[in-house]
Subunit: 655 residues, 2 copies
Amino acid sequence: MANDYKTSKGQVFDRDTFESWNKRKNFYWQSFEPYGATKGLFDYGIAEPLEYEILNIWRDHFVRSEKMISLKTSMLTPYKVLKTSGHVDKFADFMCKDPKSGEILRTDHLIKDVIETRLKGDREARGEKVEEVDDPKKKKKASKVAKTAVKLDDAVIKEYEHLLATLDDCQQEDFANIIKKHDIRNPTTGNEVEPPVPVNLMFQTEIGASGKEPAFLRPETAQAQFLAFPKLVEMTGGRLPFASACIGYSFRNELSPRSGLLRVREFLMAEIEHFVDPEGGKKHPKFSRVRDIKLPLLARDVQQAGGSTPTEMTVGEAVDKKVIDNETLGYFLVRIMQFMQKIGIDMSKLRFRQHMENEMAHYAADCWDCELLNSYGWTECVGCADRSAFDLSVHQKATGVNLQIQETLPEPIKSTEWVAQLNKKNSGPRFKKEVGKVQSALDSLSQELREKLSITLKDEGKVEVDVPEMGKVELGNDLVKFEQETTTRTTREFIPNVIEPSFGIGRILYSLLEHVWWTREGDAARAVMSFKPSVAPTKVLVVPLQKDSRLTPTVQALEERLDEEAISYELDQSGVSIGKRYSRNDEAGIPFGITVDYESLEDNSFTLRDRDTTKQVRASLDDIVDAIHKMIKGKESWADVQKRLPVVEAKEEDK
Amino acid sequence: MANDYKTSKGQVFDRDTFESWNKRKNFYWQSFEPYGATKGLFDYGIAEPLEYEILNIWRDHFVRSEKMISLKTSMLTPYKVLKTSGHVDKFADFMCKDPKSGEILRTDHLIKDVIETRLKGDREARGEKVEEVDDPKKKKKASKVAKTAVKLDDAVIKEYEHLLATLDDCQQEDFANIIKKHDIRNPTTGNEVEPPVPVNLMFQTEIGASGKEPAFLRPETAQAQFLAFPKLVEMTGGRLPFASACIGYSFRNELSPRSGLLRVREFLMAEIEHFVDPEGGKKHPKFSRVRDIKLPLLARDVQQAGGSTPTEMTVGEAVDKKVIDNETLGYFLVRIMQFMQKIGIDMSKLRFRQHMENEMAHYAADCWDCELLNSYGWTECVGCADRSAFDLSVHQKATGVNLQIQETLPEPIKSTEWVAQLNKKNSGPRFKKEVGKVQSALDSLSQELREKLSITLKDEGKVEVDVPEMGKVELGNDLVKFEQETTTRTTREFIPNVIEPSFGIGRILYSLLEHVWWTREGDAARAVMSFKPSVAPTKVLVVPLQKDSRLTPTVQALEERLDEEAISYELDQSGVSIGKRYSRNDEAGIPFGITVDYESLEDNSFTLRDRDTTKQVRASLDDIVDAIHKMIKGKESWADVQKRLPVVEAKEEDK
């Protein structure tokens, strides 16, 4: 999969080239480099303003446009909250210890690495070409593999392949069996490893100095949003549906972080908790607006049959056919796709994959991941789950705080029920301390049985009831009474269900970097970052034609104008050729370049250059500023501007 | 101080009324309320979009406008980084343990509480009125105090007052002496407390599962910015001055959090590290633009003389007179003040207070706090310190990574120096292992002495030199040579100094809430939040005149238009009177209201209401949208709009 990954221009994507681009441009890097860098932690350089623009679009697309209540909640979270939510017990990975070296290995990674190495060795032994070995780095890797070149039986190969495919579903015992059966050892030492044990992935700390308040860094923002539910009800008047949204950091103490920005220990999430009435099919008021929009859906049954190609289907059809469980879930899948499109994700590298039954939490009704394709393969970037009423229910139970919605019924509902009631005066002396047990037994009788017993009591003057711990108890007319009671309900109380679109911002940002990255024809080292103007970290590059103090006043006036217009820009007045300067600019993804030349001095006109096409137009400063504003807002494209304003010959030959 | 605090309208500020406003409107609340709430941790409701707008202005005002490099850095920080920075050893508060109850008390709070109670008791005993006891809550407090009503000697009172005034400067030993001398005990138990010990205030955790990587949640964003220094040099070409900026969370494990949002355990900071050449007086290229702007300065010497009234002085004069140490520091004080003004801080409640010598870190050259007045008193909201070269120096020393700037000198510098050099051939056999000591002694001679010795050597054929551990050593022509050497330096290497403006966003936000909060005349329960349109969490309230389905299509069309324009709005179509709805709106601080009435159906005109004046204008939808955009951007005020568009009679009598 990863080897087939291509850029938007159809070029083979080489991750080493991509990484050396990042090293040159400082979009992001591992944190604390001078101290040897810490795995799984990253600092953002140019990626920071990029993230800011992505979040601005997210806020506008979801929070403002959908009238969500934006929350900020604490990262430090008390033990009891995460005990109730299940994270203390279940948020864990399995690890194996190498008892001799002390090394701690993530069990699934360990097994995968060892088995994959054996399969590669087998292919080598069979004389198959294992890898492209064009560059020396890879040659080195390949020669390491060659040392383990051992041919395997066909049956073993099949078993290994099956094992790799089902590794995600393994539990503790399965892992232990695999390690034993296939003699999985620490590949770096050759030592046997200890059996796998679960290790909780939350960072633990302590609030205050008393030693009494253990706490964790939250693994998700969701729990704090559920605990803010009473506030949300106050703020919305409790009229469903309503939603909260939270952009915030979560933490996961990965045992062995890999895959760069895709698996990190500290990460930004943007999570929505959309609260909906569980009755009435979870309809969404705006569903009719999106009904005809097509989604690339990889449904559960297709995956079960071994398929991996998504089907294009309108969300209306998908909900009608129950491919997607309900309107609200479908509505959000569309909105997620539209968001991805807005920030510039390549739509041919996006799909929605439904969770398999065993992938979902036991309480989830349905769950779809928005996956983006990058050089690591299809990557879960947004989870969109129907969490049912699970979280609110467990927190209500643990705290006694009412987390229900009280709804006035459109019409009061009358109902008639059989009530079985002990006679207080007589039953006290008769049963003493056990009176409660008897009443409980009566309360647990079905309506049918109560009716039957009322007839028996009338006919025979007594009934027999099974009471736990007491056996059969005889009750006469003096002790019990069966009556029909009519009650009227005017309100309905219920715990709402939650649809949760949960965005991993770092993964989306990384995928976007790969999606917009390509290289100019004929020069694989010259990268271009085709960010949309709206998300580009900086909007304009100002380039004086050459180092000449005569140009300075015009350059300064241009700078002042851009500052007034709040357009972010960089000034490149280094002595290198204009072609080189534009080339450096393209690598930073700045969409527009303004050249200040000798004509500018005379008539205050400038050339405006488009990063992707390298085409230029010439116009007055007012027209150029206007065009830039419109392109940043998405109201015009470069093609529109090129039609409106006079095109001039690009002067980049000197590169 | 706190009791004198007034609203912007000159009304006495009552914190209970303010807090009940917040409880009603849900701007913020203590985190994890259903689990009993956790002290020092807060969730933001309406304060979240408010914070977002404040940060947007901060970014535009500093990062974009000053061309700073925006960074995002990790909160999880390895032990060794914070060991080098000094936080492991010095980021601590003193605490005393009550050995019987196990309670842990912050020493300065403990002393303050006990002494203040005694002083109050004395005033009670002397028959003075201690507190206003209008409301039952306060009456209860007062009666508690009454129990301890004991008259004190005048000398004791003086000593207590001095003690309270100097408490901030106390060290461990001072605290211990005070506790002993004044018999300070745990006020809730009456028990003696153990002597004060320092408790580190960082939250500790562990990265990975090996137990080998202790880590902390960072106490400031600054350290990670210093460690990104090599990247900043790459990104800027190393041309000073340059600056990085980071908006991010820091943590402080307060022993006993107090004062609401002002002292919390998890808080957002916005920190700038501005790197500057230590030579040449730390000039700032844009200083001339701000030179004539006046600042309210409370300088060190005024404080030492017991003064607390700031002096208005232009920043130019302040730098010239060395009240402010240098231009760069002065420039940032102006920019900080301008930022505060932009977000709507009351300028009469802002001052810059210079740190006293003993307040500053030992390495700091100068430090000014921007303090905002709120009902808790003058509160440090921004620190602006000159950290000199301290941080980069210690990290360079600890890691061996070069954190210097290499500057090409405008002209090579030639220098001629006397060099004293041992003759290698002869000095080896003569001094054996001690040859190094002799050369070191020569190297430490002054230029003058070398010149003098060269003459002596020429005249007498030998010289005498003091060598540590060896005493006087005689050196002849065969052993030593004194020569003049000329060297040429083309570069200069140095560690830059750092000016650090560091913003506590939560404190600024809280002060802003108090600054914009006031109550309508005649109705102390009816609050108004006078946010500037640019920072207001929501911009527009849409109010249909009454519940009438005939208005619905026009309301929907209006909503669509506002969505298109990306103007955030709320719709209030509850059945209550229009006056009540506006009143609720004013408490949320929405600056503009659009009323949809029956005229709107006919001519698509609407009334636009201003929150602060309650005045209304009537105009076409286009004109209204245009006016709102201009007022949000700060290009027009309500007064301007009222002049342009026809004013109509307000219809709020029915409130």
